[in-house]
Amino acid sequence: MQTDRFVTPAARDTVLVKVRFFATHRETVGADRVSFELPGGASVADLIETLVARFPDIQPVVGAARFAVNREYAAPTTILHDGDEVALIPPVAGGRS
């Protein structure tokens, strides 16, 4: 379609993801979910960078977190898609007890 040519690359490639926070992260951020708009092709690692820029207090605790994309554990290199649900998973304690 002709109209496609006039959409800017930035607008076309933007992905909107929902990020969920739990436990110590939730308390640090002060919210249990926040939506982020990221450039197309952004990875989980890129999201974390954006996240730390917006919530600097989370930096000390984010290093120990795992990540889930759509409720599956995912590597930081995972590319995000529009509508994905990303969760920061702080360490779970139960392994020892």
């Binding site: 969920r20 739990f22 436990a23 110590t24 939730r26 120990a64 889930a68 409720r71 554990y73 969760a87 998973i89 702080p90 360490p91 779970v92 304690a93 139960g94 392994g95 020892r96 007890s97």
Partner: protein
């Protein structure tokens, strides 16, 4: 949606009905049922006294992960009689936070699979606990 089968893997915010968890693994071929209760105890890992625990879950993922663990029990051992319920919210000492039941024809496998299930649950299922005691509150990591 809410069939008895679905209810085998649950995150609940009220006291766990352990008898109901057991009922979900009833089967005439069971010769053994192993039931594990994780219970709030009075001394935390930190060594500090605890008076309450607060549990928080990523509920949707927690229930999916429990289902995955059950799938693995089936793949490894052919076990299809397993149920797990984890409670969230505030719990006092002596209250169960998690109950897992496994039913099998013979006892050795019931123990092995039940221990496997709770080990996996503790490592993978996104549920966190905060110790609340006379000295303050702290998330346990």
């Amino acid at each position: 949606m809410a069939t008895e089968l679905d209810r085998r893997f649950q995150v609940v915010d009220s006291p766990i009905d352990a008898a109901a968890v057991m009922r979900r693994v009833q089967h005439p071929g069971n010769g053994a049922i192993c039931v594990f209760y994780g219970v709030v105890r009075d001394h935390a890992l930190s060594g500090r006294q605890t008076s309450q625990l607060h549990y928080e879950a990523y509920r949707e993922m927690a229930e999916e992960k429990m289902t995955e663990i059950a799938d693995d029990l089936y793949r490894r051992w052919g076990i299809d009689r397993v149920a797990m319920t984890h409670r969230i919210g505030r719990l006092g000492i002596g209250e169960p936070s998690v109950v897992i039941a496994v039913g099998t024809p013979h006892r050795k496998l019931a123990f092995e699979a039940c221990e496997y299930a709770i080990d996996r649950l503790k490592a993978e299922v996104p549920i966190w606990k905060k110790e609340i005691g006379p000295d303050g509150e702290e998330w346990v990591e």
